[in-house]
Symmetry: D2
Subunit: 333 residues, 4 copies
């Protein structure tokens, strides 16, 4: 059983069905009937007038979002272990034509108004230094922690105060909301988020993420940038179909809950091994090389996280009976 990444999980059957159902002739690009329904559907979900752009990857979603918030000569404050810094091959530099990522530290890959403020206070306000224009946070974080609405709101406040845009990388946004039990709006628009990369691929989708602009006007330029980045698929109806299927009857939440529940089963099996609280669908544990080898010999696959640690990721398709054997195996180490 694979716990390597939720990226590797299968596509949910309802999503496959939605894709199959979308296979008829329709206008190309995003002029089709399904794409045209997105703004309304997501506006309802977020209880806010939003504009939504489908896009194939989280990297592209994040980077398009950043181009809406910073000019090439400006900077984006993010965590030192943020996906945009560590795992996107410099894509933010490409999309923003060279804007700078400005790194802060923080437990569990979380940043706070204090760390943001401290970083900015080190920047001389002159033309020799890049000035920050945005903050990007990841919810759930790269270590599987969740920002609560009030934590996001506190960041939203400092962004307002210092005229910084606020982006949320929600590659695992569903997992965060499932844990929080709040509404999607509570942790985004109501908390000052300007743009959300709302991830679906890790949550059972095939190739569709939603870039959600809480100021619809901002999306107008982003649509040009999406085209310019080669991300305006000609058969966009297949992406729109996925997004609509996900928010229909809360499939996105159900899938996220399933993944989170699976993670808890593992977490409970080895509380003393946990490197971070398990608040979403990622479990980081202490694991020696020989213990890792033992687990692998039993058929479990996962990611080594530096020396002596491992990352296990659950996904929507992990049922209790899939996960329990791993939990047992870890407990038995």
């Amino acid at each position: 059983m694979r716990f390597f990444s939720d990226n590797a999980a299968p596509v949910h059957p309802k999503i496959m069905q939605a894709i199959a159902d979308a296979n008829s002739v329709d206008t190309a690009y995003d002029g089709d009937a399904l794409s045209q329904r997105l703004d309304a559907a997501f506006s309802e979900l977020f209880e806010h007038d939003v504009a939504v752009i489908w896009i194939s990857t989280g990297t592209a979603a994040n980077c398009l979002a950043l181009t809406s918030l910073v000019q090439p000569h400006q900077g984006v404050v993010c965590h030192r272990e943020a996906h945009i810094e560590v795992d996107e091959c410099g894509a933010p530099g490409f999309y923003t034509s060279g804007a700078k990522l400005m790194l802060v530290d923080g437990e569990g890959a979380k940043i706070t108004p204090e760390t943001v403020g401290d970083l900015i206070s080190t920047i001389r306000p002159d033309v020799h230094q890049v000035q920050a224009a945005a903050v990007s946070i990841t919810n759930a974080t790269e270590y599987g922690l969740v920002y609560r609405p009030e934590e996001v709101a506190a960041l939203g406040d400092i962004c307002d105060e210092r005229k910084l845009g606020l982006h949320m990388d929600g590659a695992r946004f569903g997992n965060a909301v499932a844990t929080l039990g709040c509404t999607p709006a509570d942790v985004t628009s109501r908390a000052g988020v300007d743009v959300l990369s709302f991830g679906f691929v890790k949550n059972g989708g095939m190739n569709a993420e939603a870039l959600v602009y809480f100021d619809p006007a901002m999306a107008d330029e982003a649509r040009y940038r999406r085209k310019r980045a080669g991300h305006l698929l000609s058969k966009g109806r297949f992406l729109a179909a996925q997004l609509l299927a996900f928010i229909d009857q809360d499939l996105w939440l159900d899938n996220a809950r399933a993944a989170n529940a699976a993670a808890q089963i593992i977490a409970e099996a080895a509380p003393e091994r946990l490197l971070h609280p398990v608040e979403a669908n990622e479990i980081f544990i202490r694991l020696s090389a020989s213990e890792a080898a033992t687990l692998r010999s039993l058929g479990f696959d996962f990611y080594d996280w530096g020396e002596g640690s491992a990352r296990l990721v659950t996904s929507w398709h992990h049922r209790e009976e899939d996960v329990q054997p791993l939990a047992n195996a870890i407990a038995a180490l």
Copy 2:
């Protein structure tokens, strides 16, 4: 019946099946078993050692290709009506960090060694002017004409002579090869093409194009650029599955032949209206506004091509019985 664009056509059932079959757990990105088979499969098709990168759009394929051939301070010679110049929202400028498209004219959107040579002869070889480093041609062209192997080879020769890379935008490569009756290699690797954007989406695919590098080493850097452009999908297996299904038993050729045959039916109905020879699946005809209205009132959809002209595009799913009514209606105007 829609003749608006092959972009709007449905996905071929075999491709839908291949996508469905790919829906199992596998390694993310392009580490999966299907993606790993691409180089070998396409090397066989092209009778040449090639490296293949899947990518979701033709725009991204074209632009990635160009970044392999030019530096930001250099230029790409292409036709004034080339897709990269006219219809990609400046994507080449984005991908290449500002390289210049250098435009030549030519009947039917075709360029020749003469037009390339003439253009280059107007460039002063000093640092004040952008120097050309590549040529990009489209086969079949934006007006549905086809470059024959010897025409491409003549361009390949001038490229060799002047140390220019040669890119082929093959958004309708299948249609071209179907018409030519040659092998894929005859009109690419044997003719001096360095990189081919091999299009499948207009030919019945969902979201997978193949970027074919005839020098596999060149693909190594392109893989970084694909990631950096947000085009490394995490579930790449669904793209690889499409490409493999297309070249299995020549589905790509069968589809292209069907589209071409449908185009011929229309072309034969109105030879005196044709603005360009019909060599692939696009038909450009003289059509007055009132004639266009008549056709539309009969349920036919198509693209106005400036005043007094129209573009009709056939696709793999247009059977004779779908097309004949349009042919009749045009003949009856």
Copy 3:
């Protein structure tokens, strides 16, 4: 005697003196006393509140100006023979991160509201095509013609109407104003120009051009971009000194008048050879290869302008007695 380019002319003695006088210790970059005087001095000259940025080259001035007016995915309308298109090695693409130059034709390298309007009418207002966001004109033009205030104002009107920024490349702005006999404001701020590259180097300067922003707020971001482009010289006082010396007692106008007068002497010697009216300091004449050889054998240097034509450029240092021999020689051909 050289009539090759005003770029090659010596620096005016008053400018050399101003440079020598600036050689004392002062704050680096543009914090020095001289740089700090620029805004006020130019605001007086332009009878308008302006912000002025010194910069070493016209290419950098033009490109910085464009970055203030267009986003990377947008376009700039300019003449097909504009310096930014032809002679800056793609610098606009570099500075704007890939914005597109959109070319129009027009006698004497001039553009009109009609040609701008015609070009824009060919652009589909959708994301597949680059949308224009600015117009750039050159005054005096690359062929030595001068835009009159009402011509600029007409362009300013269409720019207002279509929400386009208006940039003026004034590499030979002094020559234009000297010919027009208007105030600098008449042909810029009062006519709708947003940013002016005010050239001094061709007019007797060493390495200082003034980028004049008629909306001072716009200059704030440009200052970051100047630094980012490596154009914030640490001893900026030497550039500021030149600019101040130029506008003190109208040295810039005197120099331009001298150059223009010299040009008229040549023009009058060969009215039938003129390819363009001579309105500034450039003379384009019909000249066969053997005639060119004759002039060169007499010690006159100039630029061949394609086959059968030549460009002669006068400069501030050409006195009547320097130019008359050339005029005589041409008349005697």
Copy 4:
């Protein structure tokens, strides 16, 4: 007396004279007789066949150098306090179209083969992470320390081994060589440096730095990039004149020695206050706010370096009698 920055110092009289002497008509750009002498003159100085490009600022020199060594999707290893990271407003990101600066720590802003190796070992060799392609060091460093030839050579070795280019930011190269007593070649070409930004402006120049390519072929592309960045001044002879005057009779070394000697006088006055060894012309000292106020009240100007510290910079024009009063004042605190 100002010890704020060597950037603020006057231009040396011999340089002013060379500039004055260059004020005659000559070909524009770098076609003039002085510019044409640079390669030979610097090849003699470096005992190596080099190509030299004049350029107006250190920022532009550094960034042009980096574009010769890295592609947009690659990275440059440098010190966390390197000028390119801290003080150039993101210029490297602009020039390289988004390449990443990869930061290492190290006493006195020095980096070592170990810190480079350690950093690279943390990079996964896959497309998700930016791969390093170059190392940039500053000699003398931002803290006034000097890399010895064997230290540079050790870095050169690891660069060779890992196929990384090696750039030296020599904004204060003269000060480093003056301290080392070695030849310029010992600490550059013989030690594996590929490109050197050889600074003259901080050492008594006006606006000319030399970008020295130890592989002349590499300079060919850089010349296009210089033009494209708006750095090809039309009256380049004034820059070439400065560079030639500097290396004539070792003016650059004399000036650097004078600055270094002045720094030693201050250093010796307060050995217990030194935060770093004084090996060039910068002195970093512990200095409380009230002590700083005292010095300023005595007429000495300098830069606060965070809380409780100050940076003092000497320059070529500081004679013993200019510096001794400051040394005395510090000793008397």
